[in-house]
């Protein structure tokens, strides 16, 4: 067994256990902590796939930004150690049925479809310069327009956040 396989198994175990625990845990802060582990392990998966920049973005935006925001919001809105109320049994059964049938169906489709995969060994690390020119270029396979759309969206988000959080 190679090192990359062992790392993959560890990361996927963290992701599977963490994501299930983060939706069934009844303490909100514990759920946020499990979510933290899932997000860090996802960054590890990106590193394993040779997307180094994406792993850095995942760590800094998701783990460093969104999750800290979640923890602040949890402390502002609930008592520490308080158990969340559970939803009704029928709701939980309905959710499990939907999720399990959807999971079985998607697994069947993914397993039976023949993907034309390309061998990974000849793929090298992504050059930062290519990434930068692709992000702000206007040719084919370059992404200036979505980049600008995201910047307008973030501006709208800042203004909206100020408007919502402002005291009357």
């Amino acid at each position: 067994m190679e090192a990359s396989q062992i790392i993959f198994f560890i990361l996927s175990a963290i992701i599977v256990v963490g994501s299930i625990m983060s939706v069934v845990s009844r303490k909100l802060l514990h759920a946020a902590t499990y979510l933290l582990f899932v997000l860090i392990a996802t960054a590890g998966l990106y590193l394993l796939l040779n997307f180094h920049f994406l792993a850095a973005v995942q760590l800094s935006v998701y783990v460093g930004g969104i999750l800290v925001l979640f923890v602040f919001a949890i402390f502002l809105t609930s008592q520490v150690g308080e158990l969340m109320p559970q939803s009704t049994l029928s709701r939980r059964i309905m959710g499990s049925v939907i999720v399990l049938s959807g999971f079985a169906f998607s697994t069947y489709v993914l397993m039976t479809h023949k993907f034309k995969t390309i061998a990974q060994s000849e793929i090298s690390e992504l050059d930062m310069q290519d990434l930068g020119t692709a992000l702000i270029g206007t040719d084919m396979y370059q992404y200036l327009l979505p980049f600008e759309a995201i910047s307008v969206l973030l501006l709208a988000c800042i203004i909206g956040g100020i408007l919502i959080a402002r005291k009357k």
Binding site: V38, L48, L49, Q58, V61, Y62, T77, R92, T107, I150
Partner: protein, 103 residues
């Protein structure tokens, strides 16, 4: 020997469907938002894996996940601002007990 693509996809699938389960069964608005993050994260993994294994000469999947991460950050910030405001006006963020949107 390298890891087959299906292994990555199954892991992302587990993440996606546990997010869906949380979104259906949770009653706390913040917990629902966390399940939404799980779903978005799983979709990012799907994009990246398909990009790397099927079309490694292009970068569409990677840029799409970058933009999804940006949108997710904006959406979470606004949603948390709204949730804290709801909590301020009704002392509760349980989705069964918030009956009106009046501010």
């Amino acid at each position: 020997m390298e890891i087959p693509m299906q292994c990555y996809l199954i892991v992302a699938l587990v993440m996606f469907f546990s997010g869906v389960y949380g979104f259906i069964t949770r009653r706390n608005l913040l917990a629902m938002l966390m399940s939404l993050e799980l779903i978005l994260n799983a979709v990012n993994v799907f994009f990246v894996v398909f990009n790397r294994f099927l079309f490694p000469e292009h970068l569409e999947g990677m840029f799409f996940s970058l933009f999804v991460i940006g949108v997710a950050a904006a959406e979470t910030a606004l949603a948390i601002a709204i949730i804290i405001n709801v909590f301020r006006s009704s002392k509760n963020i349980d989705n069964e007990e918030i009956k009106e949107l009046k501010y």
